[in-house]
């Protein structure tokens, strides 16, 4: 299982703040995980339609889409930040 977290408009569009997911066979990196999520429904497809504005953190560290994903990971998807 991995833990997925969504923030800001990704959360609103997907309609969930977090969920647990059994990593499907063959998925080993962030890019593969996102491709899988895009097939899970209209909200996911909409939220993940423009990957230029999607940032990823694995275990609370920023990572590129090529970063590996493994069971036990906490994977967060969110837009560019706007704090401060």
């Amino acid at each position: 299982m991995i833990k997925l977290l969504y923030f800001a408009w990704l959360r609103s569009k997907i309609g969930l703040a977090e969920e647990e997911l059994a990593l499907p066979p063959g998925i080993s990196d962030v890019a593969g995980l996102i491709a899988h999520l895009q097939t899970r429904g209209a909200g996911y497809a909409d939220a993940l339609s423009n990957l230029a504005v999607v940032k990823v953190a694995v275990n609370q560290e920023y990572v590129p889409f090529s970063h590996p994903v493994a069971p036990g990971d906490e994977v967060a998807l969110f837009p560019p930040v706007t704090g401060g």
Binding site: L5, F7, A8, W9, A57, Q60, E61, Y62, A76, F78, P79, P80, V81, T82, G83, G84
Partner: protein, 158 residues
């Protein structure tokens, strides 16, 4: 070296007094406060006046990232003390959002470190602003200039 992520407001005077208290080696403190503005940052006239902002963040990652960047600032500049407070939750125009303060023997280090932390915070700390206007709510878009400002610091200053 203090980092706080909190809903409550803060008292700048109290925070700065605590920062410098008992350290007579401090010659200067540079402090930045960010406040909720009533104008939309993109100056879009259609957007109308902002009546409130809700700050969402990523608990856990926020503190971890703030601690890392604060350690980076202390490695780059001779700081005597350093403070980052960032609020989350709903705030109205005029309210404090963030406080960054850096204390050093000399002013140059205090100014540079404070600006470095703010630039970094604006482009990397996992906070998101949801604006409320008379027309409804919308997520604030990131500013390209904030990412550029943060990139300035990728190479240590010459």
């Amino acid at each position: 070296m203090t980092i706080r992520v909190q809903q409550a407001d803060f008292d700048i005077g109290v925070e700065l007094a605590a920062l410098t208290q008992g350290n007579p080696g401090i010659g200067g403190v540079c402090c930045f406060t960010g406040l909720v503005r009533d104008l939309h940052p993109q100056a879009d006239e259609q957007a109308g006046t902002v009546c409130a902002l809700t700050l969402e963040h990523y608990p856990g990652m926020t503190e971890r990232q703030l601690a890392a960047i604060e350690a980076e600032a202390r490695a780059r500049w001779p700081l005597e003390a350093c403070l980052i407070i960032h609020r989350y939750g709903r705030m109205e125009p005029g309210e404090n959002i963030v406080l960054v303060a850096c204390a050093s023997a000399h002013r140059e280090a205090a100014f540079d470190a404070c600006r470095f932390l703010m630039d970094w915070l604006k482009s990397k700390a996992p906070f998101w602003k949801l604006e409320e206007t008379c027309r409804g709510t919308r997520w604030v878009a990131s500013r390209h200039s904030d990412e550029e400002a943060a990139r300035r610091w990728d190479q240590p200053a010459g």
